[in-house]
Symmetry: C2
Subunit: 287 residues, 2 copies
């Protein structure tokens, strides 16, 4: 049985497109309505069966919806909350933004008490972006972090939780600030560190020779450096306080490693690397 | 036609085992003789067809060889050069060590002018180690960096070059110090940075929740953090001067990123990430 009658999805990139595909496949909504600024994206999404109908005018399509997923870039989400407010719609809304504190504060302030926004962030993605990369199983066995407000109703929370679970995901609750700090560490900081690693290549002369010295380790480690600069510059800016904190911690960690090297005790270094490997191995077990 | 009559391989881990497998498959040597300190490794290698015969006593097996590959950990290679010297053997030797300056200096000093050592470092590997991980195509299309001395004979150089090419690899020549600086950047520094990234997880409380926030980006980026602490503590120590230099450059790069964040220009940050992505994309093209 479908959970929703008419689900609107704003933004049909990797995440929005994968939500549409996954919902279609699992018949989670009787109808899926697409929204995008670009008519060609909507046309393509419809011809590929991701959506049933579409609107370029958000307000026009809003009325018929009983569920709305905002899968837009971080810095234009606010605009949609303003339109929802203006329109007076009470539709159940979730989002997929990678940064939560600012967005939740803005949305809850705008929409006021008794609003129907349940913030979400699926821990799924790829360095590839765009609708062509969409996968119907992108959320399977992935965690979705939900950051409800003090005012979020239990029924709405359960509906959005159920929505993610029906896509195969597991959900976890935390506060927006806890989310931004943790995800700043587990997702944003690795991206930033990878960009810094790549920048070291600039500092070495003879790029032709240098590229030949790149092994699979470098390639795998820096794969996420091929992610969209537009998406990631937005995320970095939106979470910059936490990132500055983690940059400081990363520098401390580099200094600790340097001390071990300078000290010259192979045994001590090996024991440090062993405990770090154990931490990394746990990351595989826990998922 | 086989290039060698009897090739000795010391150390039958991922690299040594893959060389044995690749040589067998391509019939590069009439016979392959294994050397290891552990009899059970040798017995296993023989029963799996990686080697034809084996010796636990290096000196005993040395006489019959016309080619010798030292695939041992970095810090015991010197021992083998001492034994070769003592034995008076003139066998053609190569190695696979990830750090070259120290090893080449020690070996060339020990063996003296007219020696038959041609140093190599194949840019191939995995975070997995041990003979069970050996792959016959590990070197296919990979670069092997060769760092001959001023005294290395042309014929020996060509023989070892031909050996790697027969395994499907491409070769490139540079000086040992150039190698250590470049590979310090392209291989050792990514490993070190990944260990530092992993160490940040220690600094955050609530590990159970934290592990749920780890996406595929973190996992892929830190995969090499599962590498052998024994192998990597050795490599880090052997190349510590270059690593300390690159740690300093990494810290500068983190500070530059922090300045961009603090400055708050999304546009400037995006343009910086764009140029870094271009550099990363080149790394795929160039191989």
């Amino acid at each position: 049985m479908a959970k929703f009658k008419n689900t609107g999805i704003v933004g049909l990139g990797l995440i929005g497109g994968s939500i549409a595909l996954g919902m279609k496949k699992r018949r989670i909504s009787e109808k899926i309505t697409g929204f995008s600024r670009r008519p060609e994206t909507l046309e393509k999404a419809k011809s590929q069966g991701l959506i049933d109908e579409y609107y370029t005018d958000f307000d026009e399509g809003l009325d018929g919806l009983d569920f709305l997923v905002l899968a837009t870039p971080v810095d234009i989400i606010k605009e949609y909350f303003e339109r929802i407010k203006k329109h007076g719609s009470k539709v159940l809304v979730t989002d997929v933004a990678s940064v939560k504190e600012k967005i939740c504060r803005e949305a809850f302030d705008l929409l006021g008490p008794g609003n129907s926004f349940v913030p979400s962030h699926p821990m799924a993605g790829s360095e590839k972006s765009g609708m062509d990369q969409a996968m119907e199983n992108l959320f399977e066995n992935r965690y979705v972090i939900m950051t409800p407000g003090s005012d979020t109703g239990e029924k709405n929370l359960e509906s959005v939780k159920g929505f993610w679970e029906s896509l195969g995901a597991k959900t976890i609750l935390m506060s927006p600030s806890e989310h931004d700090r943790m995800v700043g560490l587990t997702s944003h900081m690795p991206h930033l560190a990878v960009y810094c690693l790549i920048s070291l290549l600039e500092k070495e002369a003879g790029p032709e020779t240098l590229y030949k010295c790149l092994g699979t380790g470098f390639r795998d480690t820096t794969r996420i450096g091929k992610s969209s600069p537009s998406i990631w510059s937005e995320i970095f800016m939106a979470n910059r306080d936490n990132l500055c904190f983690w940059i400081g911690e990363m520098e401390k960690s580099l200094e600790e490693m340097k001390s071990l090297l300078v000290k010259g005790s192979r045994k001590e270094l090996e024991s440090r690397l062993k405990s770090l490997r154990t931490i990394r191995e746990k990351a595989d077990e826990k998922n």
